[in-house]
């Protein structure tokens, strides 16, 4: 019998009673050169969007070009939600819709993964705890849950999650420092 606690008890919410301060940038995982050469990368939604604004840092873009990429259903789902959210009457919608459709069509289903039931329970506990400590308004809580799901899916697949969501990843890494994350900033 496993001594591992159930996913909803891996983190004790009672341990977290104060707001967590965000850490300085140099204490967060931003060093692209520290990645293993054969690391599998999982993309946060920001990467799909920033790349198609030509806003990814050049060194990260070069790394992505040669990397094995895993897609998470959470990120692909956020892109799919964008399809529904676009205003059909807006003149810019057809061009953006085309980009989002091309992106989803290009993502190989054989390289796409979803969070497990365990991950959902753990991510929900983490997101609930952090939403309370950070005093997040209701509309930001679902975003944090999605970030936690992506984060734990990367952990489950031993991929490195590439993200621009520095604050959210900082918080999630406090609870699960074993998950691999690579943070980036937009190209100036």
């Amino acid at each position: 019998m496993s001594s591992e606690p159930p996913p909803f008890e891996r983190h004790d919410p009672n341990r977290y009673t104060a707001t967590l301060a965000y850490r300085p940038r140099d204490q967060l995982p931003r060093d692209l050169t520290a990645l293993a050469t054969d690391a599998v990368l999982m993309l946060d939604t920001t990467v799909y969007i920033d790349a198609q604004k030509a806003k990814l840092p050049i060194d990260l873009a070069a790394r992505l070009a040669g990397a094995e990429i895993l897609h998470c259903a959470i990120a692909l789902g956020e892109i799919a939600a964008g399809l529904g959210l676009l205003d059909p009457k807006h003149p810019g919608t057809p061009a953006i819709r085309k980009v989002l459709l091309e992106t989803l069509a290009k993502a190989d289903p054989a390289r796409s993964v979803a969070p497990s039931a365990d991950a959902w329970l753990e991510a929900s506990t983490m997101a609930g705890t952090l939403a309370r400590t950070q005093g997040l308004p209701k509309h930001d809580r679902r975003k944090l849950l999605n970030d936690a799901l992506l984060f734990l899916t990367a952990g489950e697949t031993q991929a490195v999650l590439v993200s621009r969501n520095s604050n959210e990843m900082d918080l999630l890494l406090r609870l699960r420092p074993d998950v691999q994350v690579l943070l980036y900033d937009l190209k100036p």
Binding site: D38, I49, K55, I79, G82, V99, K106, A107, D108, A110
Partner: protein, 106 residues
């Protein structure tokens, strides 16, 4: 019936029995899995291939991926040629397809 394990790429799920799985290369496994999912492998049996190759190249390639046999090595090499994913290269060469102020609001 057990629920499918969607947390793993198909290459790491049960039922993917190609011998090259033993090589442990995620890239090769994903390539084979993708080809299998698209119905591009495993339909027509196997074919014996004979080729004259540089011995040192064979040895270097074997050492790099840990292949024990020529069959494992050639399967891995062909999987990469036929089933490697170019998503990363595709994504970063798209250019400015989206407006600078576009954000996914979800």
């Amino acid at each position: 019936m057990a629920a499918p394990d969607n947390t793993k790429p198909r290459s790491q799920r049960r039922g993917s029995s190609l011998a090259v799985q033993a090589l442990g290369s995620v890239r090769i496994q994903h390539a084979l899995s993708s080809l299998k999912a698209k119905g591009l492998v495993g339909k027509s049996g196997s074919t014996k291939v004979s080729a004259r190759l540089d011995s040192d190249l064979l040895a270097a390639a074997r050492a790099k991926i840990g292949a024990k046999t020529d069959t494992e090595l050639l399967t891995a090499a062909l999987a990469i040629v036929a089933g490697d994913d170019d998503f990363g290269a595709w994504l970063v060469t798209r250019g400015e397809r989206l407006p600078a102020d576009f954000e996914l609001e979800f």
